[in-house]
């Protein structure tokens, strides 16, 4: 395969969303005397890797593409490739942050409530418990999750924190084999607050669980 053929094959594969094919064709391209073409191949590889979720490799390929385009004196290419590189870096940062949060939540699930709550007051106590309940739900620990949501509901009610109250009930609904009661309770609390974000969250949970909510009344 000539470098031109490899570039055409990589581009065509990218257009038909054949990510593996695009990477294979880009890898086959060898044109050390044509840095502009090698920059394009590196950019195609970076885009395909990004689509496959291989962001570390995509970032390296995009960075290489920028350097190659600079060597080729392709100023327009450098601008575009910097944009590609920046968007991959942003994706990478978001993925790392999410992973860090997941790790934090997993640790949260392990901590005893009293240690976790420390000297927190009111709504903050309920918020921490809701987060712990979510982590337990993610870990599939149904019994523990239901126990924490129950405590979160009590704390939220005592603190007058309807948001945490609703979120705790929705968390319970998420793991419960019979979610209707929790969803209906969440609906009542959300409806009373008039907070559309909460009302929408409950409606979404109800749809997902196949629970029919009462139609809004008038007057």
């Amino acid at each position: 395969m000539t470098p031109d053929e490899a570039a055409l094959a990589a581009f065509a594969a990218l257009r038909r969303r054949d990510w593996a094919g695009a990477i294979e064709a880009a890898d086959a391209l060898r044109a050390p005397d044509r840095p502009a073409l090698e920059a394009r191949a590196a950019a195609y590889r970076a885009q395909a890797l990004r689509e496959l979720g291989r962001l570390d490799e995509a970032e390296r390929s995009a960075a290489a593409a920028v350097q190659l385009a600079k060597r080729a004196g392709d100023t327009d290419g450098v601008t575009q490739l910097r944009g590609l590189h920046a968007s991959i870096l942003a994706g990478l940062a978001a993925t790392r942050a999410a992973a860090k949060e997941r790790t934090g939540d997993a640790m949260l699930a392990e901590l005893a409530d009293d240690v976790l709550l420390g000297d927190l007051l009111g709504g903050e106590r309920a918020a921490v418990l809701v987060r712990k309940a979510g982590a337990l739900a993610d870990a599939g620990q149904v019994e523990a999750c239901l126990a924490v949501t129950e405590r979160a509901v009590t704390e939220a009610r005592a603190a007058g924190a309807p948001r945490e109250h609703v979120l705790a009930l929705l968390c319970a609904a998420r793991v419960s084999p019979e979610p209707a009661a929790s969803i209906m309770a969440a609906h009542r609390v959300a409806d009373a607050t008039g907070d559309m974000n909460l009302v929408t969250a409950v409606a979404r949970a109800a749809r997902a669980a196949g629970v029919v909510l009462p139609a809004p009344g008038f007057g």
Partner: protein
């Protein structure tokens, strides 16, 4: 034969991908002014070959709207900037218009005129018309017209 080169009009700075960047309102208007001047001067393409990127496809569509009887064909080599395959594709058509990107348009024009790489640069919606004996050319092309969007309207 005559070969025309047109760079796409002004496009958005950002989109989901570089491929998806579309022409801006100003880009459309400027392009229309260039096309008005060209059609007023009596220019008409025999075929339109364009890079499949959104901004070049839209630019080609603007030309095609004025010459609907002319074939309009997406050509991957124009997206990648492969000069030999572009010349090869162009050689199969009469009086082709090539719609593409920088630095490809400038390098293509330079190669046809015998100028060094990087010597010629197209502005967005910039246009050139050249006369060549054949493609691949055996001697330097003759530059018939070079139009900057700043010179019209």
């Amino acid at each position: 034969m005559r070969i025309a080169l047109l760079r796409h009009g002004i496009a958005e700075d950002e989109s989901t991908t570089d491929f998806d960047r579309a022409l801006t309102e100003a880009g459309w208007l400027e392009l229309e002014r260039v096309l008005d001047a060209l059609t007023h001067a009596g220019w008409a393409p025999g075929t339109i070959l364009h890079s499949p990127y959104v901004r070049t496809t839209q630019t080609a569509a603007s030309v095609h709207a004025r010459f609907p009887h002319v074939p309009c064909i997406a050509t991957d080599a124009l997206a990648i900037g492969l000069l030999d395959p572009i010349m090869m594709a162009a050689s199969r058509h009469v009086d082709p218009l090539l719609v593409g990107h920088e630095p490809t348009m400038g390098n293509l024009c330079g190669r046809l005129l015998g100028a060094p790489t990087g010597a010629i640069r197209f502005e967005r919606a910039g246009f050139a018309l050249l006369e060549v004996d054949r493609l691949p050319a055996t001697r330097p092309a003759r530059l018939l017209s070079f139009l900057s969007p700043m010179w019209v309207g």
